[in-house]
Symmetry: C2
Subunit: 433 residues, 2 copies
């Protein structure tokens, strides 16, 4: 019997060189894994089996519990700290439905436990709520507002913390948005995701969700963090401050890196924490969601030949703010394709123009070279070592509250949630050496 002839959803016994497995055949989630099949074992775990190692395949009678989407009863355990899980789309919050081959959001507590049965020994999952099920590249500020409101509401109930399962593409935008929108934050808000879907043998979903649940349930964090793999092996996760983190790799499990500072905590899948940096700790404040956001803003980049007419276009279109990913210490073209006049006009029209480092690592300094001092003089806002993406999110929050240019400058350059690393040293050591 050829494996390619068997329909996903079939209950099989597979004998390989090493062992014999029984479980349900899952669909191939990607072309990259053509030479593996994925079997969902009876205990809920997925296993990847190399096709070349298969000796024999036998079709079994379909087990009764598998005729529907299988569930595992959640034992309520009031001895464990309570947490709430939010599904916000992405790879982690979904799993392939082996009956249909389609993607299904696994979001009831029962369905989550079917995917990651370890959770029942970590926390009392008080609720699991699907907020939306979009890919994270499709999210907009509207989604950030929804998350902020729901999280604030839940944190003011009798729970220890919350975990948001989120697509990885723009998770660092969402973590920045939650960091800025949640005032008086007093409990852990943990965003996590998966670089490989939970139906792949190599999935990072389970460990990320386990470590994140420990953080939400037991840590002394009072901040928004992203909790993901610390390395490419399944040893531990790290919690990155929500405003100092960026997805730095398309596919690695440790794609998320803290930029210009160290992560906050190391978390083992056994629930051990190791503090790395200082952070805001738990408190008793009531969390408030301030979700005002000015959406008429843009993020653009300066580079050799970069057309200044894009700035002019944004001014013409009545944008309220522009974040420029500037080169080096905070530079934009001031030569033959100069941006100066366009930026000056933008500022004169009341548009906030913010410079952030396109190098990502390091801090701006507009005082080193003469031409940049001129930018400073006309009112360009430089945001030290704030990441461009974070500056964009923050600018939307600031402009929704402040109109006066001096106040906008003041707010952009004042730390709300650790987005500017205060550091007396001229230099930062990036993580990469």
């Amino acid at each position: 019997m050829e494996i390619s002839d068997i329909k996903p959803g079939t209950y099989l016994e597979i004998k390989t060189d090493d062992a014999t497995y029984t479980g349900v055949l899952m669909p191939h989630p990607s072309l990259a894994e053509k030479d593996h099949l994925i079997l969902k074992l009876d205990n809920g775990y997925n296993i990847g089996i190399e096709e070349s190692k298969i000796q024999k395949i036998k079709k079994l009678q379909k087990k009764e519990t598998l005729e529907k989407f299988p569930i595992q009863k959640v034992p309520k355990n009031s001895n464990l700290p309570s947490i709430v899980l939010f599904g916000c789309g992405g790879t982690i919050a979904s799993r392939v439905d082996y009956e249909t081959g389609g993607v299904k959001s696994a979001m009831s507590p029962e369905e989550i436990l079917f995917t990651v049965p370890e959770l029942k020994d970590i926390a009392n999952i008080k609720d699991a709520k699907l907020l939306f099920s979009d890919f994270s590249q499709d999210l907009t500020p509207r989604h950030w507002k929804k998350m902020a409101k729901e999280v604030a509401f839940i944190l003011n109930q009798d729970v220890e913390g919350t975990v948001l399962m989120h697509g990885t593409d723009t998770m660092h935008f969402s973590s920045a948005a939650l960091s800025f929108m949640l005032k008086n934050l007093s409990k852990p808000v943990v965003l996590t995701g998966a670089q490989r879907s939970s139906d792949r043998g190599s999935s990072d979903a389970a460990q990320n969700l386990i470590c994140s649940s420990y953080l939400a349930a037991n840590s002394d964090l009072g901040e928004v963090v992203i909790c993901m793999h610390a390395s490419s092996s399944d040893d531990f996760c790290v919690a990155h401050r929500g405003t100092k983190v960026r997805k730095m790799h398309t596919s690695r499990r440790d794609a998320f890196k803290s930029i210009n500072e160290k992560p906050l905590l190391k978390v083992s899948p056994k629930g051990k924490f190791e503090k790395i940096s200082d952070y805001r700790t738990r408190g008793n404040d009531e969390v408030i969601a301030n979700t005002d956001f000015e959406e008429k803003i843009a993020l653009v980049k300066s580079y050799p030949g970069s057309p200044t007419e894009i700035i002019d276009f944004l001014v013409d279109k009545k944008y309220k703010g522009i974040v420029v990913e500037a080169t080096g210490l905070g530079h934009v073209p001031m030569g033959e394709l100069s941006w100066f006049d366009s930026i000056k006009r933008a500022i004169e029209d009341g548009i906030a123009v913010v410079l952030a480092p396109q190098t990502l690592y390091g801090r701006l300094n507009l005082y080193v070279y003469e031409p940049q001092r001129k930018l400073k003089e006309i009112g360009v806002i430089d945001v030290e070592d704030m990441l461009p993406e974070v500056a964009y999110v923050k600018l939307g929050c600031v402009l929704a509250k402040k109109e006066n240019p001096e106040e906008v400058v003041q707010e952009m350059r004042t730390n709300w949630a650790g987005e500017i690393t205060q550091c007396s040293k001229h230099d930062f050591k990036p993580e990469f050496d």
Copy 2:
């Protein structure tokens, strides 16, 4: 006598806790070093002196040789390999003129040797030519063309290689442009710069220029490389492939990092090379500069809330190509603020739309998620692990030569100068762990 009362350019004897120095007082190059003064010693070297350590300052009679811009005679040494230095602006190719306090381009062989006297023992500096003296944030494709033409002309003469002294902000754009514009490259083309100006005690200019000169004179490289500090200490430099390198820090000396591959060579300031990766080696081909470049192209980024009207604007303005810094594995918004229709219209209008990874590290894969397959179907070009900046430069070169969409796809996805790392492994190990 207070140091703040003394005019730069004054010849001084300074006694500190440790030693006595004589030399010319240099202007303070930046506010960051307020507590240091810089003295240019008689041997041409600069030294930084902590003001708190100064015991006594004495004004000396101005030495006669110092009344003009001081020079050091270049001893021609035909036993050494010949190289040509090009000045292309930036911090490294200039020095503060201590007579006037202004910045002067130090570009005659004599003036270069005054700044870095070690060069005379490394190579026979056949010529030193100032191509332009712009800050690198002000460069445009016109500057790339000029460099390519001059370098090709010189390399076809009797020289071993060439060094271009260049501003660091956009040096990786220039290295990509030279990589693509120089055909049949058969000798080393080394771009180098300085993160701290040569009048600061902590300048990296001398070591970078020394290592770069060794590379140009003695290495077996037949590629365009960027040669800069390997770490924040003055131990050695590394040569990065011109198409796989990016400025990743605003101020560190080791700001340049190879992305998705290792650097090519380690270079010690004593002239020792240690090969790290494979590269194209020297040959006897005649170098040809093909500098055609389509300037009507743009580099834009997708992010939550990113306005699709920027794509529409570029289409309306008859741009010929757009590089999108996509999220994750090559994603753009396809939800409520979808870019799909705008991209489709762009491609229907004959505009090349290229996706490159905004994570910088890692490789695109448009086959993992369903919505992205639709992008692929309408003709979006994904460029694997090519850096967005490099994709922008390459697109300009490709569109100047090819109009047929199939040919544009073919050229963008075919390696010209190592810009796509061929790798059978699904994963890349970024340099930062």
